[in-house]
């Protein structure tokens, strides 16, 4: 039985859009002989008991998560397919553990900030990258949900209201002057990522740079002049993780490049390490079409054994939405897994066949489902509320912003044009007369 590694689909010329999936891909290319495994860009989280990718499918068993996959491969091959087996020194093993956790705590927030939280990078680079990977209409749900998660993970860094940074700062400043807030009650603008990046010489960008340095300094010290992190000869699972995280730092071409610029100027050794790793493990640029169409013909020069995902189109969307709905139902969702299970033994979430069996019920209860869907859309199935300020709504909003009721209710974008069209033209004439008189 050939092992199937299911990952989030390719993006930015890398084999996956997700760091853990990239790490798992690079691990399998280096540990498991070609022909024993295939790579499936399914973007289907439901196959994994952890409801997250990467997931390794071996017949009926499914293993979720990078670390679990490593352990499973180790067991299955009696220690043959185990990259860390070369490092018998317990000091090295401890380092692998510690630096893996270091990457998770330091690299993940930076990637979150760069690819998801910063509005410009998200709308111009990340969100479009998801579009070819996901069937309609899931590309409207999944990227915002991942963005909301990224925001919640970076909250503690104190860079509030980052999603607002597309609004030109000067524009907002000018509006503030014209709005109604008395001088004594005006508050300072919150900081945004682009604001920090714009102040190139200011001490503010320093904060982002410190985060990058805190990530790179120990890694760079560990790498030294070696080819891999622990030796010149063989890579470890840590090499794969570093590659997974840092390739997403260096490869995507984002409009706000602060992360990449800092890496390239300050940590050239790591950049070189990642670039050669990308070449070695992923074989250069990956095209989305190759990955989605599959590559059973073993073309020469192709590094990755892609296989087309069986689940495409409507069926996939149905499953994704079904799982999404179940996850938002209060009493129904089960977030804690007490035993390692594969989806077949998961009693709570119906497997695809079960969900098709349930379809007639849905059809008979259309109204009930509509109510549920309404609730779900309202209560955050989209995952992200457009947290905009009233002052961004022009002067009318500025008046209410001046009263400062705390956070404004999330407003939908569609309301704006409506209001514009319904301009009460007579009103302003009255006002002008009043002022003269």
């Amino acid at each position: 039985m050939v092992l199937e590694l299911h990952v989030w689909g390719p993006a930015f010329s890398l084999p996956s859009i997700d760091s853990q999936c990239l790490a798992a891909t690079s691990y399998l290319t280096q540990a498991v002989p070609r022909g024993e495994w295939v790579l499936v860009a399914s973007s289907d989280t439901a196959i994994s008991p952890k409801r997250d990718l990467p997931a390794l499918r071996d017949g009926t068993t499914t293993i979720g998560g990078f670390q679990n996959i490593i352990d499973y491969l180790h067991q299955k091959s009696n220690g043959q397919w185990h990259l860390d087996g070369h490092f018998t020194d317990s000091k090295d093993q401890a380092d692998i553990t510690a630096f893996s956790s270091h990457l998770h705590t330091h690299a993940l927030p930076l990637l979150d900030l760069s690819l998801y939280v910063s509005s410009q990078n998200y709308t111009i680079t990340t969100r479009p990258a998801y579009t070819p990977l996901l069937p309609w209409p899931t590309q409207y749900f999944i990227p915002p949900r991942r963005r909301a998660l990224a925001k919640s993970r970076t909250e503690h860094l104190g860079l509030d209201s980052l999603d607002l940074d597309t609004v030109d700062d000067e524009e907002r400043e000018r509006r503030k002057v014209t709005d109604l807030i008395p001088d004594a009650l005006r508050t300072k603008n919150k900081e945004t990522v682009s604001g920090l990046v714009k102040q190139q010489q200011g001490g503010k960008r320093f904060r982002l740079d410190t985060l990058v340095d805190a990530l790179c300094e120990p890694l760079s010290a560990l790498l030294g002049e070696k080819r891999y992190l622990f030796s010149d000869e063989s890579p470890s699972s840590l090499d794969c993780l570093v590659l997974g995280y840092l390739s997403l730092v260096l490869v995507p071409d984002v409009p706000m490049k602060w992360l990449r610029e800092r890496m390239e100027s300050k940590w050239p050794g790591l950049v070189k390490f990642v670039k050669s790793g990308v070449e070695e493990c992923f074989g250069g640029r990956v095209r989305v079409e190759d990955a989605l169409m599959g590559d059973d013909g073993e073309e020469k020069g192709k590094k990755l054994p892609w296989r087309a995902s069986e689940l495409r189109g409507a069926k996939f969307a149905e499953k994704m939405i079904w799982n999404g709905v179940l996850d938002t139902l209060p009493l129904y969702r089960n977030t804690i897994l007490t035993s390692p299970s594969n989806p077949d033994s998961d009693p709570v979430h119906p497997t695809p066949s079960q969900s098709s069996a349930l379809l007639p019920i849905i059809i008979t209860a259309t109204t009930a489902l509509a109510a549920v869907a309404g609730y779900v859309l309202y209560a955050g199935f989209g995952g992200e509320s457009e947290n905009r300020r009233l002052s961004d709504m022009g002067e009318a909003g500025a008046i209410f912003a001046g009263l400062d009721f705390g956070d404004p209710e999330p407003e939908t974008r569609t309301e704006i044009p409506k209001m514009r069209r319904g301009v009460p033209v007579g009103l302003e004439v009255d006002v002008a007369v009043d002022e003269k008189g």
Partner: protein
């Protein structure tokens, strides 16, 4: 209008009134001047700061650390039952500060989280103004500054005393002893990496063990965090629910599902790595005196190994007991600094 031919109709509302600010993107509505003038007068009067209530001024001659602890524990200076608080409590003890602990909760803190430190009245730079509280993320800097300041003063006074007479008072010998323990937290490349083990894997496992593992929640978290704050059953149920939901949300940020077996495996690996790092040394990184890293490790190990706490789901503690040097490290600190 020919000049508007290529502009979208919505983007070109016809400007009409003369009294508008030119650049406004919403030119159809301006604020009436009288109202604008009226609101410009606000606030009508700004009052000065309120004085602190009388009852806060009890122990102003000593530094006070506000932590989660029981009233009895506060009096004895017992270790806090919250790892975040215990870390800084231990750190301040390592740096030889004398302070009292005060039982408190998150609502009391200026930044919404315990611990925080209220320096003694005498340590304030301005004698009249009360010293401002130090939140936990600044405590390290505060200790460094305070020690540096004290060092500067004792150097100056030492000089003047040397000029007058040579007899050194016992108090002075004590300050010079404190100087020797100037905070030198090592800049080893492994420091950050191993610190992240505590902030990530061990913290996750701890959150799970304490809040989400039902027997432990009932036997530890409930009596320590919820029972003291209220006797009302309904409020207790709500608080328990909130606490558990907060822990669950925190863990779900890391992965879409909380995998209990994986969480315990990871904490086991993390303890193995820490044990390897400690080796046969007394304190981490071969230091002679314990530092912030030791405080961070002790914060978790002490709680897990504390016999006063009724751990029912002991998987995490059992994992820890397998590493003898970590257990010895906890005992050593407990005996030296928390007698």
């Amino acid at each position: 209008m020919p000049q508007d031919a290529n502009a979208a109709p919505e983007e070109k509302p016809k400007p009409r009134a003369k009294a508008q600010p030119k650049n406004s993107s919403w030119p159809w509505f301006t604020t009436p001047q009288p109202i604008k003038r009226l609101f410009d007068k606000f606030p009508l009067e700004t009052y000065g700061q309120n004085e602190l209530p009388q009852r806060t001024a009890q122990h102003r001659d000593q530094h006070a650390l506000y932590v989660f602890t029981t009233d009895n524990g506060a009096r004895r200076g017992a270790p806090s039952f919250n790892p975040g608080c215990l870390k800084w409590q231990a750190y301040l003890k390592f740096r030889n500060f004398s302070f009292i602990t005060i039982s408190s909760n998150n609502h009391a803190s200026p930044d919404g989280a315990l611990p925080f430190l209220l320096p003694s009245a005498s340590s304030s730079t301005f004698p009249d103004a009360p010293p401002s509280p130090v939140p936990s993320n600044r405590i390290q800097r505060w200790t460094r500054d305070t020690i540096a300041k004290r060092k500067g003063i004792s150097n100056a006074s030492g000089l003047s005393r040397q000029q007058s007479e040579h007899g050194a008072a016992p108090a002075e010998s004590r300050t010079s002893k404190e100087e020797d323990i100037a905070p030198t937290d090592p800049s080893d490349m492994r420091y950050e990496a191993y610190m992240s083990l505590l902030d990530h894997w061990i913290r996750n496992a701890y959150l799970y063990s304490l809040y989400l593992s039902p027997p432990n929640f009932d036997s530890i978290a409930f009596p320590l965090y919820i029972a003291p704050s209220t006797t009302n059953t309904l409020v207790r149920i709500t608080l328990s629910h909130q606490l558990r939901a907060a822990a669950e949300t925190e863990l779900l940020k890391q992965s879409a599902r909380i995998e209990v077996v994986a969480i315990h495996q990871e904490s086991d690996k993390a303890f193995a790595a820490l044990s390897e790092l400690l080796g046969d040394d007394e304190y981490f990184f071969g230091e002679k005196k314990p530092g912030l890293f030791d405080a961070s490790v002790f914060a978790y190990t002490n709680l897990l190994l504390d016999e006063g706490l009724d751990w029912r789901d002991t998987r995490m503690a059992d994992g820890l007991r397998g590493y003898r040097n970590l257990v010895a490290h906890q005992k050593r600190i407990r005996q030296t600094h928390f007698r």
